[in-house]
Each structure stands twice: as C-alpha cells, then as structure tokens.
C-alpha cells in the first residue's frame, strides 16, 4: 500500500451519456480504512459514480488510481479482482437460485470441474451464522424478504476478500433490526480494514456511520467534510442549493366532512380497526413491518374481503368487493413500489396520467385525443411535473416526478381519498420535500390522506392523527405531535 496515500482515487473524472454530462470534474480520494459517505439528490450522479468505481461504466475523461497507480477497468470483473465490491440499492441477485448459490455467484467452488455444492452450502451457512443473520443457505433467494435479500447481498460482498465496499442506499427496505445487523456488519468490516463507501438519503445514518461525507449536486462535487465538523443543515444546503425550511413540510388546512369511516373492520391480517378520515387531514398509520397496516388498506381498497365490521363512505355504509368499487367511490391507492405497480414506465407521461380516465376520455370507444392531451397538460401544470412533454417516457423522470404522475392520474379521475403506502422509500431529500408539497396541495384541494410509513419522524411530523398498529390491531391514536416519539415507538413494539 502506498504509505499514507489514498487507497482509491478519482482524478478529473468526467462521464458523458450522449452529450449530457452525468459527472464532471470529479476529484475524490478515498483514504484506506475510512467510512466515506456520499450524499446527493436523485440525478446528482451518485449511481454513475458507483458504476465507474465498480467498472460497470468507463469514464469519458480522467482516470482512476488504485494504491497510487492508474487503473482502467474493462468490466466489473477487473474491479472485483482488486477487491472492489458493491451492494446495490435494488437487490441485484438471482431470485431463482439458492442463497448459497448467490453467495458464490461468479466465484463458485469447483473441484475437477464439478461444483462443490455441499461445501458451498456449509461455508455459506457458516458465513451467515457468523454475521448473525437468521437465514438458511439452502433457501431460495426469491422467497426471502427484500431486507433479507439485501443482507445476503452484503454477506456476499463481505466474503469475497473485499478491500473496498460500496453500499448504495442499503437500508431502504430494511426493518429496524435488519438495519442494525447491517450497521454492525459494516463496522466489523471497517474494523478489519475494509474501506467503505456509504450512499444514503438518510442523513442520520451518515452521521452515525461515516468519517467523512462528500456531497454531489448535478454531477459535480460540492463538498467533502468530516462528519464530526458538519451538520445535517449544512449537508442539505449543499445537496439542494435551495433552503428547505423544514424537512417534513406540513400545511395545516381546515378539516372538512368525513370521507371514510371504518367501524371495527376486520380482515386477513388485522382485526377490529376503527378510524375516520376527513377532508383536509393526514391520518398516519405507523407500525413495524407486518403490523397489519398494508393488509388494512388493501382490504379497504377491495383487494381482500373484509371478514367483519363496516366501511362508511361520506356517511353511508358501502360494500367494497373489488378494487374498481373503491376507485368508483373516489379512493386511490399509491402503492409502495411505484416502479412495479403504479406506472407503465416505458409509456408516456400523458398516457400514464390518462390511464384510469379513458372511459371518460372516449366516445363510442374512440379516444378523444384532444381531451387526453388537455388532461395530461392540466395535471402536469397542477403538480408541476417536470418533463419535456406528455410523450416523454415515465422511466426517464425522477422519483419525485414519477410519484406525482401516480397522484396526478388519480386526481384526474376525481379521487378524494389518497392512500400512500411508504411513499418516500428510497427517495432523496429534495424529492421527499416535493412529495410533502404534493400532500399539502392535495389537502388544499379538499382531499384526505392515509399515510403508511415505517419511518417514524415522517409520520410523526406529518400526521394530523397518528394511529399505531401492532399485531394487526390499532393500539393507539394520537393527535398532531401530542405524544412523545418514544411513546409511539414503545406502543408499536409492544415493549
């Protein structure tokens, strides 16, 4: 190792994609053995940076230095050979294969050309046990929760004689306990001398883990600071270059009539839940994963049959048997994974916005193209969706703008009650505040919101009323900031 010099260094790095810069003029040195956090909004260039570090992309200009010597990667294999590894945001692994097969993917143990399956299974289980993960090595990866898959991905990177390990938003889908296991693992790896690059939107994680933090904005490096000498406020300012008055922006509007009321509603995974949602208010549902919140709202939305109790809509009892019944009443569910369930990513923004409204936009089966365009324009203006036009594919938009499309399509159909299931998972600070503004606009427009979130500060700051779920039941209800955070957490855990 070059004495005292950086382990891995980027010198004057540029990366262009068909003319536009993804990264420009990046000089960054990673010291051996440090935990270096990288922060920035979506589109700031973090993903591109990771791809350059792991050899998945090659720089358009500038170069990389490893232990002081220039290196060029032709592909991920070259970076792996140096001990550079990454744990990606979306779990990048093979769901059909076993955990053990994934742990050894591309690095299989072989004797005389034959796989040493049993040896890999044993060693894999040993590795998982040693890390304290309660995961069976012979299980099929796709059967695990996303969080467990993420832990497997981490274990996989850890066992490969890794020297430089990049974490890209690893905690987005993790439960609190899984997050803790992950942090313990990161600290252990770091103590073994592994240099860590940690990318996260959650600033408190950065302060908990990192020695230094670099902020990227619009493809440029804004600052690199020691975490001990900086604050969340500084980082946010560097990231967005515009003041964010409050992280969790909330607008209080007068409440109107009752939209939805459940009386002792029971269904698969929850029982005896009574709550009301009025126009102009956010009702937050907080609880641990598996507490029954998602089951409650999907039943509300007609995806499952309720087994008892009553649902009332604007004062009158209603039967919701299918999703279309809920939509016809004016309910909209914005699902947790936008990418999978909410949008047709390879189709235009306008198409996505008009999708639920085509019955209204067509006459005798023929679509009124003018009305379709007008609807798209109206929603794009109303929600300030940033896209060159309604024909632009949804996949090219930022996470916040995609979220707005999902909201916009239901607004266009006349929805009045919006159910958001984990709306800000894997979303950066700037986009988050955009989403909160969308909430505020919805409330202004007379809508009501049910907000499901596992991120307590978010539901705590935003909810007019906060309902705590545990074991399939609503165990407590609080007004806006009328209870201590610790109290709510205790209620959710049942300690």
């Amino acid at each position: 190792m070059a004495d005292g010099g950086p382990l891995f260094e980027l010198v004057g790095i540029e990366k262009r994609f068909t003319g536009t810069y993804a990264l420009k003029g990046i000089d960054l040195a990673f010291a051996p053995g440090e935990v270096h956090a990288i922060a920035g909004e979506n589109g700031a260039g973090k993903s591109t940076l990771i791809k350059l570090l792991t050899g998945a992309h090659q720089p358009s200009a500038g170069g990389l230095r490893w232990e002081g010597r220039p290196v060029a990667f032709r592909g991920p294999g070259d970076a792996l050979a140096l001990g550079i590894n990454a744990v990606h945001q979306e779990v990048v692994a093979c769901p059909h294969l076993s955990v053990a097969a994934n742990l050894y993917l591309g690095d299989e143990r072989v004797r005389h050309g034959f796989l040493r399956k049993r040896a890999m299974l044993r060693a894999g289980q040993h590795l998982l046990d040693g890390l304290g993960f309660a995961i069976r090595a012979e299980a099929t990866l796709g059967d695990l929760t996303i969080g467990q898959q993420q832990l497997v991905a981490t274990a996989r990177a850890a066992h490969r004689g890794v020297r430089f390990l990049i974490f890209d938003e690893p905690t987005g889908y993790l439960t609190r306990q899984e997050t803790e296991q992950l942090f313990r693992l990161i600290r252990a790896l770091n103590a073994d001398g592994v240099t860590i690059v940690y990318i996260s939107h959650r600033l408190e994680e950065i302060f908990e883990l990192a020695d230094r933090v670099t902020v990227l904005r619009d493809g440029r490096l804004v600052s690199t600071r020691r975490t001990a000498e900086t604050s969340e406020r500084d980082l946010i300012r560097d990231m967005v270059a515009r003041p964010i008055e409050e992280l969790h922006y909330k607008r209080v509007v007068p409440r109107g009539e009752t939209l939805l009321e459940t009386r002792s509603l029971s269904g698969p995974g929850f029982a005896d839940v009574s709550l009301t949602v009025r126009r102009g208010e956010i009702v937050g549902l907080y609880g641990l994963i598996g507490a029954g919140r998602s089951e409650f709202v999907t039943t509300l939305f007609g995806r499952h049959r309720s087994t008892g109790g009553e649902i009332r809509w604007q004062g009158a009892p209603v039967a919701i048997r299918r999703e279309v019944d809920a939509m016809a009443l004016g309910m909209a569910l914005v699902p947790e994974s936008r990418r999978d369930q909410g949008l047709c990513l390879n189709l235009g923004v306008g198409f996505n916005l008009a999708l639920p409204s085509y019955a209204r936009l067509s006459r005798f089966g023929w679509v009124d193209r003018g009305a379709e365009r007008a609807l798209a324009r109206r929603q794009m203006d109303r929600l300030t969706i940033v896209a060159a036009g309604p024909g632009v594919h949804a996949e090219t938009l930022s996470g916040g703008n995609q979220q707005k499309i999902v909201v916009g399509k239901w607004l266009a159909r006349g929805a009045r009650l919006f159910i958001f299931d984990e709306p800000t998972v894997g979303v950066d600070v700037g986009t988050k505040s955009e989403i909160y503004r969308v909430f505020a606009d919805l409330l202004d427009a007379g809508a009501g919101i049910i907000l499901i979130s596992s991120y307590l500060p978010e539901v705590y700051d935003l909810s007019d009323r906060l309902i705590v779920f545990r074991g399939g039941r609503a165990v407590a209800e609080h007004g806006w900031k009328t209870a201590e955070v610790e109290t709510i957490l205790t209620e959710a855990i049942g300690a």
């Binding site: 097969a101 467990q148 306990q177 999978d340 957490l489």
Partner: protein, 327 residues
Amino acid sequence: MPEPLVALDVPPLAPRPRLRFGFLLNLTLLGLLGLMWLGLSLGTDSFATLGNFANLLRQGSIWAIMAVGQTFVIITAGIDLSAGAVVGVAGTVVALLMKSGVPVPLAILATLGFGVAVGWVHAFGIVRLGLPPFIMTLASLTALRGIGLLMTNGQTIAGLPAAFSALARDSTLGIPNLFLAVIAVAVPCHLLLHHSRWGRHLYAVGSNREAARLSGIRVNRVLYLAYILSATLSALAGILTTARIGIGVATTGDGWELQAIASSVIGGASLFGAVGSVPGPLLGAMLLTTINNGANLLNINPFWQRIVTGGLIVAIVYLDQLRRPKR
C-alpha cells in the same frame, strides 16, 4: 430527528426451502406416462410389443435430444425457433457429404461443426447485434429452410451408406442406439447444468442478467454456449433422423421446434428463464411421442395429437403459475 434504535429480540426467520416443484412435476409426468402406457397396453394389441416399443423410443429420442438443447436456451430466457430447420439442413448436409464420398464419421463430425456454426451465428445476432432471440432464430428458420432446399434443389438424397443407416436402426445389448444417444446427450448435459460452474452461470443469466454481469460472469459467453449447444443438438437430431429414414430430405423436421419447445415446457422449463432441467424435457418428449404413437394405434386421427399437445401446455403452464407467489 434521528429515530432511536431499539433492539428487537425476535430474529427474522427465513422460510424453509419447499419441496422442489420440478421434482414433483417430473414425478407426475412419469406417472402420467406410466398410465398412458398401461392404458395403451390394455387397449391395443400392438402397443406392448417389442417392435412398437423400440419404435416409440427411437421416435421419442430425437425429440428428446432437441428438447434438451432447447431447454438450455430457455433457461437463459431465450428461445430457439430454428431447431426444426436445423434438423432439415443438417440432414441434407450429412447426406450430401456422404454422397460425395466423405467417410461417415467425418461427415457426422463436419455436420456437427455446421451446427456449432449455426448456433454461433444465432448468438452473434442476439449478443452483438442485439436482436431478440425470437426474431433472430425465426429469421434463421426461414433462411435455413431456404438453404436446405437450395442445396438439394428440393430433391431427396437417397443411396446413403448402409453403415450410416445402421447407426439409427441397430440396437446395442437390446437397447436401440437412438436411445443410447439420448443417454449420451442427457448425462453430460445434466452434469453441465447442475454440477458445473457454467450451469450456475446459465441459471444466473436467466434469473437476472444484470446481477450475473455485476458478479463478474461473462454473460455473452454463456449465451454463445447456450445457442451453440441448442443448434448442435438439433444438428445431431438431424443426422440421426436422416440415418433413421435412410434419405436426406431438406424439409425434414418441419414444426419440430414447437415439439421441442413443448417438451421443454411440459417438462417444467419456464419461458421467463432460470427454471428448467434435463429430465423434464426427456419426459416431455416421451409423453408427446406416446400421444402420437397411441393415437396411431388407436386409429385416432393423428391431428388430435396437436390439439392434445396444446391443451397439455396450457395445463402445465397454468400449474406453474399457481406455484408462483402472488403479489
């Protein structure tokens, strides 16, 4: 406000691996095959004869070999529609070579080499030119048929060496040579698929190509091998068919790609990739052959076989859907 960290004592439990669906499916197919054989033995005088049984095995063997090759491609989430056309052209090539005086073993080797070349072209189109496998191999199907007809001018090549025909017609130790050929193909293929590094990589590419790439797997190389294997096994099937019928006909194997795909899918392979085995397509091919053979013996219009095959595919893929966790 940082969320306080609270330790939970309950560890998340990973689910136990379930009994493999593929194993159960194979067992079911085997049972179905047994039932059909039993029914046909009782229902007809001619089914349970040595002659018919040998015939059944010979017929099934050729489809089985093609289906195994097809399965490799299907595991990568691809498809090889050219398989039937390769059978025809390979049969023509091997016949023409022998007619022009090339010794039998050399002619066979050269034809297998031709299969390798065809597979290489498929992979080149898919990997380098970025064509969808469906399109690339569909184009190849048409072109290869044309090449076969061009080479023979649409005529049958007869008068092949007796030693060549004996390959397919003879038996060794009472087992038809063609069936031995299946074993010679299936055993190494099974080992390759489940016990070699390349097999792992094949499943990985079919499951998540990006993950495979980021794991340092050479995805392109895996795809080249899969398509070459499929085309080469189809070429082998063409050689064996020509030996069996004793003449080279350019139009041999018309529609067989669908038989091969059907055998593979009935045997449990998923067209979405990453699911498939070697015993599956073998059983699938035997099942389809038995339906064909049985229909002949029972004097049922052979066209029924196509309808039954269609129904079987729908039933089995529906079962496959049922086992997938719903979101």
